[in-house]
Symmetry: C2
Subunit: 474 residues, 2 copies
């Protein structure tokens, strides 16, 4: 029993309950020697031999590789970690490994950004882990949580519909997926009664230990109310569930009366009973919101109330992959540390961000309006995120034809749409849906007022109408 | 049984033998609809709705985020996928997701690069998978290979000393590590008799299915002879082992008489008996060689003789993480597609590469020479890679003191070295070593002729001598 043993003994995720395989992982290259060296480095000029690789040979080398004749690289100053005034390097070059948890200065910037978002609630940079997109951090956290066999096997609650990373990761880890259904008739809202039903059912065959929430929702586009988040936190506390809050669309909220509330902030505003007890990991990314820089694979998670011994295991686990991509880390720093009013690019930045978010909001609203004009399609409001998950009515003949072809009906529908119109939608069955209902995921960004080709094609010439008409005629 | 069933039935890695959890993974966002859409896209102008994310909103947006006032970005032309003549975009922007297997044009470039390296032996771009550094691809391949319980649990042969990614990944996956020892007395060469001994021993308690080779060696710096590689391939064929060749140091060969031979080339030059039968995955990266751009996390693997049905599973598995970082992919393209003689930066590139490799070779040679001057240190030649794994003699008193402190003796040595001199080395125990022997890993790049501070400190004032003298005096 460690000194933290008493305090953390009744947490969900402890040394006793965590994935035993992860405990067995050893990774000396970033082990105790290196951790001690990093401590010393803060006080002492020293040599790090054998660890930081060959980038320092010659930082001009890449210029040559780029084949660009040593030209100006001012454009990339921000991304390369130079400050805006010019040449000073804020952190290392992209070509060198960073610490596995992510560059410390960037974690400090992220912590300040989170504090500002959450009305000053403290954020410790040591609780921030940078990652290869949010997906990487989500899988890492799930991996830590999975253990046991048979009745003791970890169960993880995920919404249906869900972003399929969750079901895929749970299958890969051999964990039990516990599905709770969002309420399509109420704008895909989360219903605590349904959470309770799913949990009770699951307790018969596994050990439920985590609850995943996607807010704003993907693929459903709903935004949770503050009341709902409080209810979820009370439920997690009562049922001893580790909360995973996927908040990568936190800047994408459009609908009147909707607002993004972070789980962290709500948790801390609910008082010590919750803020010192409920374990939470929340995830963010550079891939969504107004940034949309998904190719860089920048992301981070913040962990709250994590058992310190488990945190050591987490740090060890992420060190096996050495570090998240440094360009993605640097991009994240640019995102959390945007131009300030006294800086030359401030006006440009504000205009760009405002325009982008306004466009997204307009497209969200148009998407609902236009899709609902199509007979056989019913679309909830896109309150947030960038997606909608419209329900499609498929006539019995279509369902029959799909079954004859051995296809799920909405897969059959989407494949037909693709073949006949060139429009590529992802069938609802990949995200999960109630039996007997059919959907597709639609990316609201592609709705366009001036040039209605993309969505116009869906509603005027193709999609539901086209396919259904044809099938009805069979 | 599929049409490929007969041909691939007796392979090591088949649908029957692969990791059953991976088979259960579903990832519809990049599933059949998208695969069919990509086929159609090659022939047809079409809309991809709901898949390619928001980067296309406005590609100027990032300029604003960078805070650099829309300046020139010529420097990054190469990395951004523009051709060298100017503005044409060779492939998408870094900010957009790529296909999960990696950008097709880059895979084609890699295939040509491999063909050139291997004297024209065909390389199919569809057998190339881009990855987040080589580590990512290695873990993915190991994950596919792991299945069974008890006596049937997959065993994977790894060298000792090894790069600890392997032992860490095997622990994480719950696979059985089968250790074969490299021969320190013969420049850390691989001995087939030792492979055989390790395999026979392992067969008593697990099901050996893969053999991992690191060539040139990390942390040992040896380069395998062509004869040795042929022997390994024969051994793998006879014992039905899946070969994993970690060849990330393929450009780092320094010693006279040593040459890099790729497993792929040797396999194909051994005739149909092997080239159509032995399953191989080989790994490369932008992090090592003359590039050393490790922060970008660029890497790839080539798979050879993989069961086509397993390949579908592999493609599905990598799609769960969406795509490798696009800047890393672009950097890889720059590496495999270097400046040509008629291009303006050719001379600069050649000079830079030649100088870098010459410096690495000189440092490799100096490292051996200088380390062997230190009493109590014995260092094999650094034939390749960037490391050496010198053996240290620790006096009994030091070993006793380490044991009293509950530390492995070489950890104790390295920690003392760090505390007293600020020099940070990784103890041999993290890489594996024969019982009763002690080593550390040393990064040969840090040996410096003109300014001998780093290694000079090791041999003149600190390290072995210092620590051992002090301990002997106790």
């Amino acid at each position: 029993m460690t000194e933290n043993g008493c305090e953390y003994r009744d947490r969900v995720l402890t040394m006793d309950t965590m994935n035993p395989n992860v405990k067995r992982v050893e990774y000396a290259v970033r082990g105790p020697i290196v951790q001690r060296a990093v401590q010393i480095e803060r006080e002492l000029k020293m040599f790090m031999v054998g660890l930081r690789d060959c980038d320092r040979i010659d930082c001009e080398f890449m210029d040559g590789l780029c084949g660009c004749d040593w030209t100006d690289c001012e454009f990339m100053d921000g991304l390369l970690g130079r400050d805006r005034s010019g040449n000073e390097l804020r952190y290392g070059l992209h070509g060198a490994y960073s610490t596995s948890q992510g560059i410390e200065m960037i974690r400090q910037d992220i912590a300040r950004y989170i504090e500002q978002r959450d009305g000053g609630i403290t954020c410790d940079p040591d609780n921030i882990y940078l990652s290869t997109g949010a997906s990487d951090a989500i899988v890492t956290m799930l991996k830590l949580l999975v253990s046991g066999e048979g009745m003791s096997r970890t169960g993880v609650m995920i919404s249906i519909p869900q972003y399929p990373l969750y079901s895929a990761a749970l299958a890969d880890l051999g964990a039990v997926q516990i599905s709770y259904y969002l309420d399509e008739d109420n704008c895909w809202s989360l219903d605590i009664c349904e959470l309770r039903r799913a949990l009770q059912e699951a307790k018969k065959h596994c050990s439920p230990r985590a609850l995943c929430i996607i807010n704003p929702g993907n693929p459903t586009g709903q935004v949770q109310s503050r009341q709902c988040i409080e209810d979820v936190i009370r439920f997690a506390a009562a049922e001893k569930l580790f909360l995973m809050a996927d908040e990568v669309y936190q800047d994408n909220v459009y609908a009147d009366g909707c607002k993004f509330h972070s789980f962290k902030r709500v948790l801390f505003e609910m008082g010590l009973e919750y803020s010192e007890k409920v374990e939470l990991a929340s995830f963010h990314s550079t891939s969504k919101c107004y940034m949309g820089e998904c190719g860089f694979r920048g992301g981070y998670m913040e962990v709250v109330n994590l058992d310190p011994e488990v945190k050591v295991q987490l740090t060890k686990l992420v060190s096996v992959r050495l570090c998240p991509p440094v360009p993605g880390q640097a991009l994240l720093d640019v995102v959390v540390n945007p131009p300030q009013p006294d800086e030359p690019s401030y006006d440009t930045f504000i205009k760009e961000r405002t325009d982008t978010l306004a466009t997204l909001a307009e497209k969200a609203s148009m998407t609902q309006e236009i899709l609902n004009q199509v007979p056989g399609i019913k679309c909830n409001p896109v309150q947030g995120a960038m997606y909608t998950f419209p329900r499609i009515h498929l006539p019995p003949k279509a369902i029959l034809e799909a079954k004859e072809k051995g296809q799920v009906p909405d897969m059959f529908y989407c494949m037909k749409l693709l073949e006949e119109t060139g429009i590529c939608l992802v069938p609802g069955s990949g995200f999960g849906q109630r039996d007997g209902t059919y959907h597709f995921r639609y990316f609201s960004l592609f709705t366009n007022k001036n040039d209605e080709i993309s969505l116009g094609y869906v509603c005027d010439k193709g999609s539901g109408v086209l396919v259904q008409k044809e099938l009805m005629g069979n």
